[in-house]
């Protein structure tokens, strides 16, 4: 941010957009001694905060933990798995956007790389768990390398320039995925078999447990849930570590941080890498859940916009905001469509109002909500709730 702009230099912080310097929180680079209960250790001393949030988070955790039992049926389980995967995808994006101030449009690319890693392995004959593990690893390594290159580029160019380049790179990845039929299956994508344990016909125990058959998809879900939980707690640990504090300081004023002796490029690159690897793992999980991968499933720009929506609505720079954002947007997409359907039911088919409220236009309303939130609630929901009174 260069000084001497036409307006007062606006401070953009993850907790919101402070309009004057006085409102912006001052980053400290030291960790004061904090009391550590075992629960505190678990969430890296970064609990949701407000009572309402704590309760909500616990509720969400419980629901997701018991999802196969609370929402029986493969469709609902599918949605629950998606929510878990998206939580990782969006939270890892928040690491870059909310905590370090980097706007990248290439996040879906890493998501796709992880998904294709598993998909290609399983589809090309490396079946079973070998394929899954190898695929995940390869995806993670490729993501690491690509993220490292992009991260090193981030010093040489200005922020907006960087964002545009990530857009171009992501578009390129999409083109490669669509064109390289022999490797990626082109536009049709790849369908493959998952390890036996995860298949639909597998039964962990012969009888129903609480009325639910414990089959492959249920096991897949629990793997997804477990990985999501672990990665999320890991992210909490990262942002509350000394490393994380440096990131926040970089977001506030990178020149100062550089002057203090920290190599800003190194930190930025590292967070890009971490973020990319997590997105890649989320992608690998996605492939397992879908038993399919294609450019539309993981590489689309619409998905990138969804991620932005979720992280902004939930609250940038809070990680918990990702959880809130994912659930809200997923619910919104579902309920908006239903609400709109009900609304148009009562209007005549050809009127302009009917067109405005047509269920296919849910994106219009989501977009309006998005603009309203960026304007009036820039800290997002969690950010707002967490703000000191």
């Amino acid at each position: 941010m260069t000084a001497g702009q036409i307006n007062e230099p606006m401070q953009e912080t993850a907790g919101g957009f402070a309009d004057t310097a006085a409102d912006a929180p001052i980053p400290t680079l030291s960790l004061e001694g904090k009391s550590r209960s075992w629960l505190g250790w678990f969430v890296s001393d970064d609990p949701p905060g407000r009572a309402l949030l704590n309760v909500t988070m616990l509720l969400i955790l419980a629901v997701l933990l018991f999802a196969p039992f609370v929402f029986p049926g493969s469709k609902a389980l599918d949605v629950a798995a998606r929510i878990c995967i998206f939580i990782i995808l969006v939270a890892s994006y928040d690491l870059m956007l909310g905590f370090t101030g980097i706007v990248s449009f290439a996040h879906t690319m890493f998501f796709g790389i992880g998904a294709y890693g598993v998909a290609i392995m399983l589809a090309k004959g490396w079946s079973g768990w070998t394929g899954v593990i190898l695929g995940t690893l390869i995806g993670a390594v490729v993501s690491l390398v690509v993220a490292a290159v992009i991260g090193l580029l981030s010093l040489r160019v200005r922020a907006i320039f960087f964002s545009m380049i990530t857009l171009a790179v992501a578009a390129f990845a999409q083109i490669v995925a669509e064109q390289w039929r022999t490797l990626t299956g082109g536009e049709d994508g790849l369908t493959f078999d998952v390890p036996a344990v995860l298949s639909r016909s597998f039964r962990l125990v012969p009888d129903r447990v609480m009325g639910v058959i414990i089959n492959g998809p249920v096991i897949t879900y629990y793997i997804t849930f477990a990985v999501t939980l672990v990665l999320f707690l890991l992210m909490l640990r990262i942002v509350n570590s000394p490393f994380g504090l440096v990131l926040r300081a970089i977001r506030e004023n990178e020149f100062r941080v550089e002057a203090m002796g920290y190599r800003v490029v190194a930190y930025r690159t590292l967070i890009c890498i971490i973020s990319a690897i997590m997105a890649s793992m989320a992608g690998s999980l996605m492939a397992l859940v879908l038993r399919y991968n294609g450019p539309d499933a993981t590489l689309s720009f619409t998905l990138m916009i969804d991620i932005l929506l979720m992280v902004v609505i939930g609250g940038m720079g809070t990680l918990y905001g990702s959880i809130v954002g994912v659930i809200l947007v997923v619910l919104a997409q579902y309920y908006l469509k239903n609400t709109l359907e009900m609304a148009t039911g009562s209007m005549s088919g050809q009127s302009p109002m009917a067109a405005l409220f047509h269920p296919d236009r849910w994106l219009l309303w989501l977009g309006i909500i998005f603009i309203l939130i960026v304007t009036f609630l820039p800290q997002g929901i969690v950010g707002r709730l967490r703000r000191k009174r």
């Binding site: 941010m1 000084a3 001497g4 230099p9 401070q11 310097a21 001052i26």
Partner: protein, 244 residues
């Protein structure tokens, strides 16, 4: 500074922040009409910030700036410029991709130059005539400085704010610049001059204000400071050799 002098610009209790950092901590001084006031101080003392605040490029959080009896603190930069204040920044503010002619043209209010104005400027800075249609970016450092000042004086101005004009110039160019400033002085132009080079400040300045850490720590006549080596050393860290 004599209190009875007619004051053109008064800065009162100005605090300015850049982002989170407080730069000016209550700056108080005046610039008398028709005289050259030198604003001195170490690097980072806040001299450039003071000029930029006067010019409205940065807003003062607190305090007042009064120009010829009218408060200008809250005004936008273009308004301040139109009141008759010209600004020659440290980086000279030359539009490198525009020609010298176009740079000068921007400083006049009409589509053409008044011939007498132009002659006056070109007399002071003959090098500009040679490079008239060249891109300003191709000029040497000294020539750019000439252009910057020429641009500031082509139309009559009531106050010139000049920030470190001699920085990075060869001794020959510095002399040329000092000569130009003295010519302006003879025409009774009011100038607020920020300078690191004490010799130049001494040659041109009538009054002096010294800044340190965002405050004015000394104000008075240049003549008094010029002969008081001890005071010079205390205020500016200068030894006798520097002011010789």
């Amino acid at each position: 500074m004599s209190e009875t002098a007619d004051v053109l610009l008064r800065v009162e209790g100005v605090f300015t922040n850049i982002g989170r950092y407080r730069i000016l901590h209550g700056v108080d001084f005046s610039v008398p009409r028709g005289r050259v006031t030198a604003l001195l101080g170490r690097n980072g003392a806040g001299k450039t910030t003071t000029l930029r605040t006067i010019m409205g490029l940065w807003k003062a959080r607190l305090g007042k700036i009064v120009f010829d009896g009218q408060p200008i603190t809250a005004l936008e930069t273009p308004h301040i410029a139109r009141r008759g204040i010209a600004y020659v920044p440290e980086n000279m503010g030359i539009f490198g991709k525009l020609t010298v002619r176009e740079n000068m043209l921007l400083a006049t209010g009409r589509t053409g130059f008044a011939q007498d104005q132009l002659d006056r400027v070109l007399q002071s800075f003959p090098a500009l005539k040679m490079k008239w249609d060249s891109p300003a970016g191709s000029l040497s450092g000294g020539q750019k400085q000439m252009l910057a000042i020429g641009r500031a004086i082509i139309e009559p101005r009531r106050l010139l704010l000049i920030d470190e004009p001699t920085k990075g110039l060869s001794p020959a160019m510095v002399d040329q610049l000092v000569a130009a400033l003295l010519r302006l002085k003879r025409e009774n132009t009011t100038i607020l001059l920020v300078e690191q080079n004490f010799r130049v400040a001494e040659a041109v300045g009538d009054d002096v204000a010294v800044m340190d850490e965002g405050r004015i720590i000394h104000a008075g006549e240049m003549a008094a400071l010029a002969t008081n080596h001890g005071l010079q050393h205390r205020l500016l860290g200068l030894s006798v050799a520097d002011s010789a």
